[in-house]
Amino acid sequence: MPLMERLHSKDLIGLEGITREELELVFSTADTFREFLDRPIRKLPTLRGKTILNMFFEASTRTQASFDLAAKRLSADTVSVSKKGSSVEKGETLLDTLRNIDAMRIDAVVIRHSAPGAPLFLARNTEASVINAGDGLHEHPTQALLDMFTLRGEMGDFKAKRVLITGDILHSRVARSNIFGMKAWGAEVVLCGPKPLVPEEFRAMGAEVSWNLVEEIPKADVIMALRIQNERLSESYFPSIREYRRLFGITADKMALAKDGVVLMHPGPVNWEVELDPRVTEMVKTVILDQVTNGVAIRMAVFYLLMAGSKEEEDGAVA
């Protein structure tokens, strides 16, 4: 296994600034683990003796399970803390939380938090590796890595391919991480949805911005639909579900305009009949469940690349 290399940081906070070489390293590592997951005995001793803390300050089933499974497949011990809301509601500052982590001698922390920057704050103040499992509207790097890994499995090198991301971009950390990652890989990224949810500020991140889905669908090689949350409706980001579905939903009539071989993705959970018409999944290649399996392999790769080996080896590898 080509696993002597390392990522440039002890943490994975986001994909902003990641290089194509680093992405290739993550994907080739994940290839190995992905193959291994199809074997009858799916456990490796790689991280035996290491402890990983899953800290989820926001509800999550799939992501938390995926991280937990990835850790266990690598023989790491895992501790999970699920707390709704923030540390502040417990009367504890994030720094207090951090001091507790250090006191527990944890090797890596997986954190999901409603506040952007919370994982970075932890990373700066602890020796443990910090892996961002989603921070507010900021980033969700492992989701984007698994999206790209899935795409790579489906299409091979998707460099120069046109990826259309639809829906609530403004409130999506998945979109932000995918923009950074896919741009670093060399793909084109187009964002489409109602203008209040797809503001022009995203152009500064290297993405194209469109408010007309019918125009964009025929040009896309990949379509990724993001979940629309009902609360956006009450906040007046768009007028009705009916109108959203008509203008921005990935419906059968719109997909009829798509290229042959277009790949449809969704980071889940799907709000069927809002952003995605179930009939569409019968029309084109969808990879939604592959995304879930690949999630475990990607998270194993991330744990491995950040945690395996001793500190001395790591320093040697960097040099």
Binding site: S87, A115, G117, L120, F121, H138, E139, F202, A204
Partner: protein, 430 residues
């Protein structure tokens, strides 16, 4: 018998004064300026120092009563004095808020006991700063309230604001407004721009400020009342203030040191020390603020000194408290980072800390060096370098900790009294 200060360069741009003269202080006032016979007076040599009027801060949070763990009137005014301020207007968003005459009396009494800088309390416009019913502005003014503001929240009802302005103008007081339309800014913790959207912050556009500024200016036109706009931070607000002044409305405006020195690029670190309200904006806003300060559109630099304990700041960015402390190093930082590199003139900097804010308050004999004016004076060593540490404030929320700044006050007089406090065992006497 008075105190004869000799050898200093007298620098008071508001009085057109910049020359080496003797100055005699008697009975808390400046008795004479010129060639003065030292006989019968205490002679104080200030050779090599620049004597300026004591500064006036229109906007400080002294946190007392209610949040004495962040700051007290004693520590806040000591910080002020060490920063060259002789007068501080403190904001009423204490716990409980200063919205009645008893509150005003309490603050003034505490400030007198502390005996550092003078404190002029700002009273709340509305009871509980809730924006609904007028607070007892007349009774508060009688106790010494210098202006009225619901700082921290904008009086959302245009009708309540109209009545407040009418009422305040009849008792000769300025209404100061914290311009922020919360129906647009919502839960935002950052200025809206490509960087903050990328970083995943909930953001608010400049227009949340501009809309509020615009309404308040119209109401000043309607009522004829003096309106002071607090911590102006956007290109649009600057333009609105400029136009209001062009048509002769009695509108004044202040800017904070942080909006003159920093931009929202600092948020890339997610460091909560840079969380302030209004939020740090973009380079073009900072440029507009500097230009407006230079051309006089902005009347005053007001610190918005906002002490917070580490406990208030160590939260996640959206939950952390807003604001930074300034009193002890505002002038030094502005001198070091804006005057020395030639971004603003020393004249405009000093005006915006002296005659500028005095004009906002309608106090003609403060912030001046002229015969008959109140003897609030500071002798500065403009060349002296010092490191920001060991601050008198109870709080440490400033990005300047450990930084080396130029300019340090060597002596200070408040109402003609030599401002030694004996509490600083270091190199300073006061």
């Amino acid at each position: 018998m008075g105190q004869l200060l000799r050898g200093a360069r007298l620098f008071s741009p508001g009085d057109g004064l910049d020359e080496k003269r003797d100055i005699l202080l008697e009975d808390g006032r400046i008795a004479r300026i010129g060639e003065i016979d030292p006989k019968g007076h205490d002679l104080i040599e200030l050779k090599g120092l620049v004597l300026m009027p004591g500064f006036i801060d229109l906007h400080a949070h002294l946190r007392e009563p209610g949040e004495e763990y962040k700051e007290t009137i004693e520590t806040g005014t000591l910080s002020a004095k060490r920063g060259g301020y002789t007068t501080v207007v403190c904001m009423p968003n204490t716990r409980p808020p200063i919205d009645d005459p008893e509150g005003v009396r309490f603050v003034i009494k505490k400030a007198k006991e502390a005996g550092h800088a003078k404190v002029l309390p700002a009273g709340a416009i509305t009871k509980g700063r809730e924006g609904r019913e007028l607070a007892e502005m007349g009774l508060m003014a009688a106790e010494g309230a210098a202006m009225f503001t619901d700082d921290g929240s904008w009086v959302f009802s245009s009708s309540v604001m109209r009545r407040a302005m009418e009422y305040a103008s009849a008792i000769g007081r300025t209404i100061a407004s914290h311009p922020e339309d919360r129906s647009l800014s919502g839960n935002a913790c950052a200025h809206e721009g490509p960087l903050s959207v990328k970083l995943g912050f909930e953001t608010a556009p400049r227009e949340a400020e501009d809309i509020a500024v615009s309404r308040d200016i119209f109401l000043s036109g309607l009522t004829g009342a003096r309106l002071h706009l607090q911590h102006i931070s956007s290109t649009g607000s600057v333009e609105l203030v400029r136009r209001a002044k062009d048509v002769g409305l009695p509108v004044t405006a202040e800017v904070t040191p942080h909006h003159l020195l920093f931009t929202y690029e600092a948020l890339e670190s997610y460091d909560t020390v840079y969380k302030v309200n209004p939020p740090l904006r973009e380079e073009k806003d900072r440029d507009a603020l500097l230009a407006a300060l230079s051309d006089g559109t902005l009347d005053a630099i007001a610190t918005d000194h906002a002490p917070h304990s580490p406990f208030d700041k160590e939260y996640e960015f959206p939950l952390a408290a807003s604001g930074m402390i300034w009193l002890e190093m505002a002038f030094s930082a502005l001198y070091t980072f804006l005057v020395l590199p030639g971004k603003i003139s020393l004249e405009r900097l000093v005006e915006s800390l002296t005659t500028g804010p005095a004009g906002v308050l309608g106090l003609d004999d403060l912030g001046r060096i002229r015969e008959g004016a109140v003897a609030d004076l500071v002798a500065w060593d403009l060349g002296k370098e010092w490191e920001v540490r060991g601050l008198a404030s109870l709080s440490r929320n400033t990005p300047l900790l450990g930084k080396v700044l130029k300019a340090k006050p060597e002596r200070i007089w408040v109402d003609g009294k030599d401002g030694k406090d004996g509490k600083d065992g270091n190199e300073k006497e006061f």
